[in-house]
Each structure stands twice: as structure tokens, then as C-alpha cells.
């Protein structure tokens, strides 16, 4: 450790922050000038310019460029039409990736939402609800990489002797042989999903538990007086009342699952038949230097998200109309 290790980095931070402040001041100055002349269009332009510029350069242009790249060869020199897409749906390795991704985006949102709802109902109005909620919510603050390390220790395998991984130790205590969990395809896929579910259940619990508090007590009481059993009340009263919250949770987890890179990378590196779209995209583009295939994987990701965007925008429009 040299002192320059500190000065380099904190120096950069200081310069960056000063430059950023200067830009903000300049923008406010411009906005003030435009405001004085009462030109709202100009003010709007100044306020929106940085964000729109960033988004154009950093998302819109790259997205278009990525779509174009997906029709070109690995080094971008040759137009290959739909070859990359043909590879994605015919190559056995690529097909494995698509199947894994499909499993992830069905199982993770479903289980996370269901478990989150179950837990939210179990702890609703219970003594110590806050503590219960915080314990399950905690993994939300842990990085995917941190979570992967935590769970890698749970799954760890030793061919003989004392186990270090809790899961295998439980097996040994029960008299069974330890299993090398992360190399056992296809089950290793589910063990990786457990990590993401472990993180997302907390999110589902918090959102759904807030939604549960919004269900009017009178309806529940009325149903109870009419002789409905708790299960009937749950399915016929509670679930329909918080339906929109359930959908939002499932959709949010769905998108997070689709974009998942870190857990696969840190746990198996995509080996042992555990690769998924978002991870393979990075592998293709940055390790195998095949920009064409990497771009194709990214476009496939995007195509899977599009129906969700359309659904969300329509939802938003409808809510805005209702609010009017």
C-alpha cells in the first residue's frame, strides 16, 4: 500500500465532484436566465438535457447498435443475416441456455411471490412483525455476489471427512453420503435459483404486507360472519383485493431474474449446464470476443422483456385514466 493509492483515487473523486458541481451550477444559471425571460420550453430543455443526453448515448443508441450487431459476425466485419439467431435456437449449448433461462423466469417469480405472500400473511398483525419482516428483508441489502458466496458455503462439498457445507453436513448427520451439489445437473440450476429466491422473498414480503394492510377490515369481518373459513377468506377476499400488488411483485422479480448475471458467474461460472442468457451474453462478448453472438443474446433478453413493458405501460395508462 502506497500513499499514492489513496491520493490517486480520492483525488479523482474530488476532481469529479467539483466538475459535477460546476456543471450543476452552470445548468441552474442557464435555467435561471431562461426563466427570467419566461420561456418554459427553454427551461424544460435545460432541466431535461443532461438526463436525455445520458439516456440517448447510454441506452437508446447502444440498444439500436446492439440490434444491428446481432446481424453481423463475431468480429463485426461481415453481415450474416439471421445466422446468430439460428445458432441460438439450434446449437445444443445455446438451447441449454434458453431452457435454463425459461426455468428461471418461471420458477423464481412464482416461488418468490408465493413465499412472500405466505410469509406476509403469517406475520400480519403478529407480535414482533417488524423483526420478522426485517430478518427476511435483510438479504435485499446483500449483493448478489455476497449472497452467492454465502450460499456457496452452504452447498460446499468434501469427498470425505467432516463437511464444511451445512447442507452436506445435514445429509451426513442423517446417514447419507454428501453430494457435490453444484455439479449435479439439472438440480444445480434449482440450487442457484434458491439464492435469488432467498433475496427476492424479502422484497415480495414487504410490498405484499403493505398491500395486506390496505385490505379493509370490514370485508374480512363480513366474510367471517358469513361463515367463510380462513382459507376461503384468503382466496376469495384477500388475494383478489391485493391482486395488483401481486402482479407488480411478480413482474419486478421476473425482470430481475431475466437480467441475472452475478449469481451464475460467482457460483458456477455457467459451467455444469447452468448458463443463462444474461450471463452467456457477457461470456460471448467479453471472454469469447464474439460480439455478434453476445449482441444476439442481449436482443433475446430484450425481446423477453418487451411484453412486460407493454403490459406495464397499459396498466399505467389505465390507472391514469381512472385517477382522472
Amino acid at each position: 500500500m502506497d500513499i499514492s493509492d489513496y491520493t490517486d483515487r480520492f483525488g479523482l473523486l474530488a476532481v469529479g465532484l467539483v466538475a459535477f458541481l460546476a456543471i450543476l451550477m452552470a445548468l441552474y444559471g442557464l435555467a435561471e436566465l431562461a426563466s427570467r425571460r419566461d420561456r418554459s420550453r427553454a427551461v424544460a430543455f435545460v432541466f431535461l438535457a443532461p438526463a436525455v443526453l445520458f439516456l440517448l448515448v447510454g441506452l437508446v443508441y447502444p440498444a439500436v447498435r446492439t440490434v444491428i450487431m446481432s446481424f453481423f459476425s463475431g468480429d463485426g466485419s461481415e453481415f450474416v443475416g439471421l445466422d446468430n439467431y439460428a445458432w441460438a435456437v439450434s446449437d445444443p449449448d445455446a438451447l441449454q441456455i434458453l431452457v435454463n433461462t425459461a426455468l428461471w423466469i418461471v420458477i423464481v417469480p412464482l416461488l418468490s411471490t408465493a413465499l412472500g405472500l405466505l410469509y406476509a400473511v403469517l406475520i400480519d398483525g403478529r407480535r414482533g412483525e417488524r423483526v420478522f419482516k426485517a430478518l427476511v428483508f435483510l438479504p435485499m441489502g446483500i449483493s448478489f455476489v455476497g449472497a452467492a458466496i454465502i450460499w456457496k458455503f452452504v452447498y460446499q462439498y468434501d469427498a470425505s471427512g467432516d463437511q464444511i457445507g451445512l447442507l452436506n453436513q445435514l445429509l451426513v448427520w442423517l446417514g447419507a453420503d454428501p453430494v457435490n451439489w453444484l455439479t449435479e445437473s439439472p438440480w444445480n440450476n434449482f440450487l442457484l435459483m434458491v439464492v435469488l429466491i432467498w433475496i427476492e422473498v424479502g422484497f415480495a414480503t414487504v410490498v405484499l404486507s403493505a398491500a395486506l394492510k390496505g385490505v379493509p377490515n370490514e370485508i374480512v369481518e363480513a366474510a367471517r360472519i358469513d361463515g367463510a373459513s380462513p382459507a376461503e377468506i384468503f382466496w376469495n377476499v384477500t388475494v383478489p383485493s391485493i391482486r395488483s400488488a401481486i402482479v407488480v411483485v411478480a413482474v419486478t422479480v421476473f425482470i430481475a431474474t431475466l437480467k441475472l448475471f452475478d449469481i451464475v458467474r460467482a457460483m458456477t461460472g455457467g459451467h455444469y449446464d447452468t448458463d443463462v442468457l444474461a450471463h452467456n451474453m457477457v461470456e460471448q462478448a467479453f471472454r469469447l470476443n464474439n460480439d455478434g453472438r453476445g449482441a444476439t443474446m442481449a436482443v433475446l433478453l430484450f425481446l423477453l422483456v418487451v411484453p412486460v413493458v407493454i403490459y406495464q405501460v397499459r396498466n399505467m395508462r389505465r390507472q391514469e385514466l381512472e385517477a382522472r
Binding site: 430478518l135 435483510l138 435485499m140 455476497g146 458466496i149 452452504v154 398491500a211 394492510k213 437480467k259
Partner: protein, 316 residues
Amino acid sequence: MSTDAQAPEKPARIGETRGERLRRVLSSRAASVAALIIAILWTIPTFGLFISSFRPEDDIRESGWWTFFTDPSFTLDTYNYVLYSDSQGGGLIRNLINTIVITIPGVLIPVAFAAMAAYALSWIDFKGRNLLYISIFALQVVPLQMALIPLLSFFSTGLHIGSVPITPEWNLDGVNTIVQVWIAHSIFGLPLAIFLLHNFMRELPSDVMEAARIDGASHSQIFRKVVLPLVTPALASIGIFQFLWVWNDFLVGRTFAPGEATRPLTAVLGDMAGTWGFGWTRLPAAAFIAIIVPLVVFLLLQRYFVRGLLAGSVKG
């Protein structure tokens, strides 16, 4: 968050038989037990890693963390090694500083720019406002994977149309590549931040705005003196979101500042965990250094975080 906690066992209802009461109390007990089991299952993995991080490396290699309770041995050597040692697998203090240097502007820039954009989108009248807002909203779900390759080439080779250069190459190297990470994080954080802040700002009472207008305040004055103070809680929750995202990020830091000198903590950890080679016994301590900061922030400011979550998901 409201915690209108009721006592778990309600008084016997009128007209309830003993059997009915027993069943009600039993099912309440079963629910308690189930909740407790889930809570314990969710906590054990983290707890195990936490215990491991204080065990000597030889112990970690030999036995599981639960043996700590029958055969306790405690050391801070591993923490000391991973943070400060000059040998292989040490010196993470440098990466911790990288993470800090990346995170501060990575949070401030997008939140400031998003606040300005959200104000314009909610309170300044101009043509095409709704279309612009819907477009930004839709950008939220463009996976950042779509942007990686082109954005990286934007930094390294500049923009070209044919062979005509539009923007120059940035030519950043060494520690300075962190600037690319700031910009990438700002870009990827903007759509969600604008969406959430727009939700908050739109809810502000319009008579307050009009009163300020009538008093002769300009848009930039209203933004600074009226809107920003009113949306401080929202700024806090978005700031926490972005903080957690940037601090915990692996992919963006790894892609835009790939050098040995500039890698953030998570990038080192992710690669260490991926190979699980030399020095895996030091992973618990190293991981906990990365985990503890966001966890403390998260626990202390949970209220704001939850508020942001609810605004973003339930209303949207």
C-alpha cells in the same frame, strides 16, 4: 410502515364453542411456528458466514462453522490479511476505496439529474411531455446488457458514422477509468430514478406551485426552494436504492473499469468465488467487508427504502 400489532390471541368470541376456540389458538400457533421456521431458514446462511469470518483459516478448511459453538476459536487475522496484506489475495483496502470512489458520484449524479428531469416532466408545460415521459419509463426495462458493448466502444473508440468521427475517444487509463463507471451507473440508474421522482413530484399540491408562481418565482427557484425540500424523503429513498445498486454491482464495474487497480470490491469477490481456488478460506472475511456497509445503511434507513419500493411498485 405501520405496525398496528395486535395480540396474537384474541379473546374468546361470543357463541364460540371450546372446540372452535382450541382450533383457532392451534392454527395461530402453527402460523407462529411456520413464520419462525422461515425466519430462521432465511437467517442461518448469513449467520454461518459471519461466524466463519472470525474463525482461523485452518479451522475453516477443516470443519463447518457450527463447530464454533463446541470448539470456539476466534481471530481477526483474516480480516487483517485481506484488507492490508501485500501478498496475494490481500490488499482489498484498495478495492474498498475503489468501491467508495465509484459509489459517491455514482449516486449523486443520477439522483441530481433525475430530480431535474422529473421536475420538468411533472411541472413544466411543453409539447411532447407525455411522450417523452412514456419513453423514459419504457427505457427502464431495456436490459443493461443491451448497452454494454456499444457503450464500451463509445468510450474506447468514440462514435463514428462511416469513418467520420462524431465524438473523440476518451483515452482514459489507470485509475481514471473509474470515470466511465460513474457515467455508466448514472445512465443505468436514471430511468428508475426519474420514474420514482416523477411519481412523488406529481403528487405535490398544485396550489403550492401556483402560489409560488404568482409570487413571481421562476421555475428554477420553485425547483430549488419549494420542490426539493418537499421531496427530500423521496430523494433519500432513491439515493438508497442507487447506493445499494452501485455498491453491490458486479457487472458494470467489471466491464467499465476492468483493470487490476480499479476493480471494485464485488468484482474481486465475484472472481474469487467463481474460481474458488487459492485463498477461498479468506472469502468469508472478504465478503463480510463488502456486505457490512450496505447492510448497516440498509437497516438504518430501511424506512426510506421501503417507501421507495412501495411508491415504485404498488403505485406504478
